[in-house]
């Protein structure tokens, strides 16, 4: 089943002096259960594409459907709400609130989603156990390694049972061991829990794990390889 369908997507940045045509007429679709890497040189448009898929940024032209909903038409509070219920995010850094423990970080977002307290606690434990941090639930981010922090971020992204998780260079700040570890956990979640992951990366080892690799350059899809 198709989760994302994008048609003739265009993004032009013209807020600065030079116009930047960051995305140029991309057509793509993503199926449920995908484990997809988006690669390409720096400045090719990976972040721009992911931001639009996540409803954080607005396309200049074209359409984005997520589970049949025309996201490009959503505005304001509706968009925020849609994002909250359908999309999980993992960013490169600063994912967690430093004054909250791992558990509180995950729980806080669930609270914002209006999940009742008794369900929150169970689910948080379950999620943190799934990412291998069952024994660190009461640690603050500063007491966790970068890789562990990213795993908490993954757990948080899954809190709302989203249709897919977007991760923009989630391993960029991690050493190779943590990178491998995080990827293993994402892969496991993908296989066992059928979580759809779409992530951008520069790292060849990460690319190898992906089952589909989309290469973009200058805002255009150069290749789209399914293994």
């Amino acid at each position: 089943m198709k989760v994302i369908d994008i048609k003739k997507l265009d993004k032009v940045y013209n807020d600065s002096e030079v116009k930047v045509h960051a995305i140029q007429g991309i057509d793509l679709s993503f199926e449920e259960g995908e484990f997809t890497a988006i690669v390409g040189p720096s400045g090719s448009g990976k972040t721009t594409l992911l931001n639009m898929l996540g409803g954080l940024d607005r396309p200049t032209e074209g359409e984005i459907f997520i589970a049949e909903t025309p996201v490009h038409e959503l505005k304001g509070a509706d968009l925020v709400d849609f994002r909250l219920r359908n999309i999980g995010f993992v960013f490169q850094a600063y994912n967690l609130v430093p004054v909250l423990t791992a558990r509180e970080n995950v729980e806080f977002i669930m609270q914002m989603q209006g999940i009742p307290a008794h369900k929150r606690f169970e689910r948080t434990k379950e999620l943190l156990t799934q990412v291998g941090l069952g024994d660190r639930i009461d640690s603050r981010p500063s007491k966790l390694s970068g890789g562990q922090q990213q795993r908490v971020a993954v757990a948080r992204a899954l809190a709302s049972k989203p249709k897919f998780v977007l991760a923009d260079e989630p391993t960029a700040n991690l050493d190779s061991k943590s990178t491998e570890n995080l990827l293993d956990i994402m892969e496991k979640l993908n296989k066992e829990e059928k979580i759809t992951f779409i992530f951008s990366t520069h790292d060849q080892r990460v690319v190898k794990k992906a089952r589909r690799v989309i290469t973009i350059e200058d805002g255009k899809v150069l290749s789209d390889v399914k293994k």
Binding site: L56, D57, R83, L84, F89, V99, E104, I109, M112
Partner: protein, 464 residues
């Protein structure tokens, strides 16, 4: 997760900054509490003195109000008395006849205010009976150190209204180490003078102590008074000195003679006349209403005026002094406002990325704003509370122990017509006002950061 808990933890992310901001609020609160307390203490004292000496309300002939001449005195009738007394909330009515005279003893003469009073009713209005100097320290009568004597004189002239006050002053002047109950008892006993308050119908004079000093007149000596009486009658009489009285204002004390009202009427050939009727009202808050009711009821040629109407200069002085205080405190609050503003802006700036990520994952901006607002209020309210904790005991102690000024400072104050004592108010309004102002300042300076947060570009914030 409760937002207060998050906000509280956030405060300790930069301990030093939080501590600094809190201490700025703390110091400003202490400063403005101290300032307000001193100001309101002074106003309260001025008003109390004025009300005590002149009553809440005075009824006078409209011409007397204009001319202040004994020729415009009003007729004291039993009916008038009863009518005034029958007005609701009126507690006490006291007649006074007031005019001027020359007072003379030996080769000294001075123009004085002659205040003819009913000694009994005045007890509960002006409490003059409690202001009689009963003790007077004389260096020749005592075998004490001149240094101690001088210190005593500096502390509180030389005379005291009661043995308790005298004892207190002795203790202050001698210091704990030299003070002994025995010595104090001896000094106090040997300083007692035969100074009395007036009795009804008595033909005697009670003089302001400073006036007596000037005239060099003693108790039992005879004061010569010469004046013009009612409608130009000649007024001349001799009055034995019965007592000395202490007034809060030295200027008043230097030129006032109290006589019994009957004796005064006789002296001025003004039988059954009074220049004013003082009215004491049960509560301050009823004064205006009582005065209005009196004016409705009184004959047209009589008018009732409240202490505020009787002392417009004082009311004006208080108002303009208040305005000055508001200006000073305004500057303090502006400083607090800027500091809090800077702190919030820093909190916002350094957490831009964090906020961007949180908004992206679904936190509402409003929730973030609430956390930031709670942090701001924590800072300002902790500062305010700490300020109260320190300033309340201080202000309270000062309220109970006003600071008497000495030397030149005291003289300057007296020349300007103030009691040379710094009073402090411990009215809870002072504290409420501070808390409310700091609260409002915090909210106002929060508006700009709030707008910044509203406009925060999520993508930009995450990218930076």
């Amino acid at each position: 997760m409760n937002l207060f808990k998050i906000a509280w933890r956030n405060l300790w992310r930069s301990k030093t900054r939080t501590a600094l901001t809190v201490s700025v609020v703390f110091f400003v609160v202490i400063l403005s509490v101290a300032m307000s307390s001193q100001q309101y203490g002074m106003y309260d004292n001025m008003i109390n003195n004025a009300v005590e000496f002149s009553g809440h309300i005075q009824i006078q002939d409209t011409n007397y109000i204009k001319n202040k001449s004994i020729n415009d005195a009003l007729h004291l009738t039993h009916a008038l008395f009863e009518d005034v007394k029958s007005v609701k909330h009126v507690e006490m009515v006291a007649p006074r006849i007031e005019s001027f005279s020359l007072a003379s003893y030996g080769n000294k003469t001075k123009g004085v205010v002659v205040m003819g009073i009913d000694p009994e009713t005045e007890k509960s209005i002006s409490k003059l009976d409690r202001k009689i100097a009963r003790y007077k320290l004389r260096i020749d009568s005592l075998d004490i150190d001149t240094a101690i004597y001088n210190r005593l004189v500096e502390l509180d002239k030389q005379s005291f209204v009661s043995a308790e006050v005298f004892d207190e002053r002795l203790e202050a002047a001698l210091g704990k180490s030299h003070y002994s109950r025995e010595l104090a008892g001896f000094v106090i006993n040997s300083s007692e003078i035969d100074s009395h308050y007036l009795e009804r119908g008595e033909k005697g004079a009670v003089l302001g102590e400073a006036l007596a000093d000037y005239l060099e007149i003693g108790l039992g000596d005879t004061l010569v008074m010469i004046s013009q009486g009612y409608r130009g009658a000649t007024a001349a009489a001799l009055f034995p000195v019965k007592g000395f009285i202490k007034m809060p204002l030295v200027q008043l004390e230097r030129g006032i003679v109290f006589l019994d009202i009957t004796a005064t009427q006789y002296f001025f050939s003004a039988d059954t006349l009074a220049t004013s009727l003082l009215v004491k009202v049960d509560k301050n808050s009823n004064v205006n209403a009582v005065s209005r009711n009196l004016n409705k009821m009184l004959p047209a040629k009589l008018q009732s005026q409240t202490w505020e109407e009787l002392q417009p200069e004082m009311v004006q002085m208080i108002e303009s002094d208040k305005a000055g205080g508001v200006f000073m405190k305004g500057i303090f609050y502006m400083i607090v406002g800027f500091i809090i503003f800077g702190t919030i802006m820093m909190m916002l700036t350094e957490r831009r990325k964090e906020f961007g990520v949180l908004i992206a994952v679904g936190l509402k901006r409003w929730t973030l704003a609430k956390i930031l607002l709670i942090e701001t209020l924590f800072i300002s309210m902790i500062g305010t509370l700490l300020g109260f904790l320190l300033s309340y005991p201080i202000v309270n102690t000062l309220h109970n122990n006003p600071i008497p000024l000495q030397g030149q400072m005291a003289q300057v104050m007296e020349e300007y017509g103030f009691e040379p004592i710094i009073f402090f108010s411990n009215n809870s309004d002072i504290f409420y006002t501070q808390a409310i102002i700091i609260f409002i300042v915090s909210i106002v300076v929060f508006l700009f950061p709030l707008m910044r947060l509203r406009k925060l570009n999520v993508i930009q914030a995450i990218r930076d």
